[in-house]
Symmetry: C2
Subunit: 158 residues, 2 copies
Amino acid sequence: MPYFEDIRIGDRRDLGSFAFTAENIKAFAAQFDPQPFHLDEEAGRRSHFGGLAASGWHVAAAYMKLTVANIKREFDEAVARGETPVPSGPSPGFRDLKWIRPVLAGDTLSFASETVAKRELGSRPEWGLVNTYNSGTNQRGELAFSFMGAVFIPRRRA
Amino acid sequence: MPYFEDIRIGDRRDLGSFAFTAENIKAFAAQFDPQPFHLDEEAGRRSHFGGLAASGWHVAAAYMKLTVANIKREFDEAVARGETPVPSGPSPGFRDLKWIRPVLAGDTLSFASETVAKRELGSRPEWGLVNTYNSGTNQRGELAFSFMGAVFIPRRRA
């Protein structure tokens, strides 16, 4: 991760893609969101989704997995360059999470994160707050998932 | 689930509680959010969380599990009463998800959902949109988690 000072509005990061399969859709749903249209092809076809559909929380978890993999990769690369890596901060929450289209078995979403705002925090001088627009787009180029994220990022020590 | 017409602003539903343990915190994190403060007690203590902390997505998944359990229970109760159960609809997304306080190993959150708004949909006469305020409160009575949810609910056929 860069320090707060090195982050620029408009920075865009491709996070990679995640393939949703009947198998991983059902496995996630069985653990966390066991509704019929997430567990059974026929129930999915009969539902408003029109097919076996990933839980919305599965889509969010796929985004998170790719984000954490990126954090780890950047951490390791900084260590490899002999730098002290910048630790990632916590998130206070997010806004406007939208499940725009069904994500069905066979769909692959590509996730990206773009910096849309940043500000210093009077109350916590060691951190700044960065706002991101995060999206998941399917293999047909259709936006399926988005939210406005927020994360505390360490500031460079004076 | 009641039909859209039978839902009243101010309706509150206690969803039950979920106990976060070192074991289930680490198991969730290993699968979906493998950051050190979610995986290791010592890393958690050294972090801004001050202890082994549940992933924010784990907190959201616990809410979802309890919500689905409630949907299932109401569905089964309707069947037992000889009624045709009202199927639950999809969610278009949600707003203002807030991770207000760390959820640490040993914490138990009680979740609740309150109806705050409802409206008919011109474009989809078979459904209405219901907005809920959802919260998770810890064993000390402190609000730890909240978001504004939205869900499509079937309307009673004329």
